[in-house]
Symmetry: C2
């Protein structure tokens, strides 16, 4: 678990991240153990700092234009175990423990449930809905 006595005392590690022209960085959340890719979202500087502070994933909602503590409504919190940065320092990868195993607002384990069927030339939903989407929220 990323601990609460965080890296806040220095911002050098935050400066290392190559934030884009909107001050954001793409973030991939991956389930620890299975290594399933759960979802993709964005963070700004505050979101990444808060993620480290809480030990739970906090994203930047581009649609709502505010910090989004994942699971704050649904309870589907992501406990953050490892934070990685890519070779160009412009993409973040979180290894998380997904509470209730449900990351997607559709009630599925992972957001990546649409599979390209090449022969049919169409995307098909291939993962089950595990819980009522109405109950998930964000």
């Amino acid at each position: 678990m990323i601990t609460k006595h965080s890296a806040k005392s220095s911002s050098k590690w935050l400066n290392k991240v190559q934030w884009d022209e909107h001050g954001l960085v793409p973030v991939i959340a991956q389930q620890t153990g299975t290594n399933d890719v759960l979802m993709f979202a964005w963070m700004n500087r505050d979101a990444l700092e808060k993620t480290v502070e809480l030990g739970e994933a906090v994203y930047w909602s581009r649609s709502r234009k505010k910090l989004w503590h994942k699971g704050e409504q649904s309870g589907h919190i992501q406990k953050v175990l490892d934070i990685r940065l890519d070779c160009d320092s412009d993409v973040v990868l979180l290894k998380v423990e997904q509470v209730d195993d449900i990351a997607c607002h559709t009630g599925r384990h992972s957001c990546f449930f649409q599979q390209l069927n090449v022969a049919e030339a169409e995307w098909q939903a291939v993962e089950p809905v595990l819980t009522d989407p109405e109950a998930v929220g964000k």
Copy 2:
């Protein structure tokens, strides 16, 4: 393997993708089997269509502003086994077989080799270099 008798005959599946204001979509490449996240890149419409046609990952290089057939110089091709789209249809996930097990231009298996050491408040390279980066190219 995604086959060559591709979905080109219809572009409906390409229209389903929510391309951003630059005509791009974020793409995550994941190693089949281990599920390691190898890299993150972008595709435009042509790149995704070409990926399906070849059965190998073709990205859009934002820096070089042209299609980038991953491994075209280095030989580190990515054979594409599965293509997923997320719940908002604006992020693509590729399951690939990474030739030579090296995806990163630094000569590492994965691009996500910088780990946040929270106590030290710094990013540390924690994955080994497997081959001479000079030989990798793009």
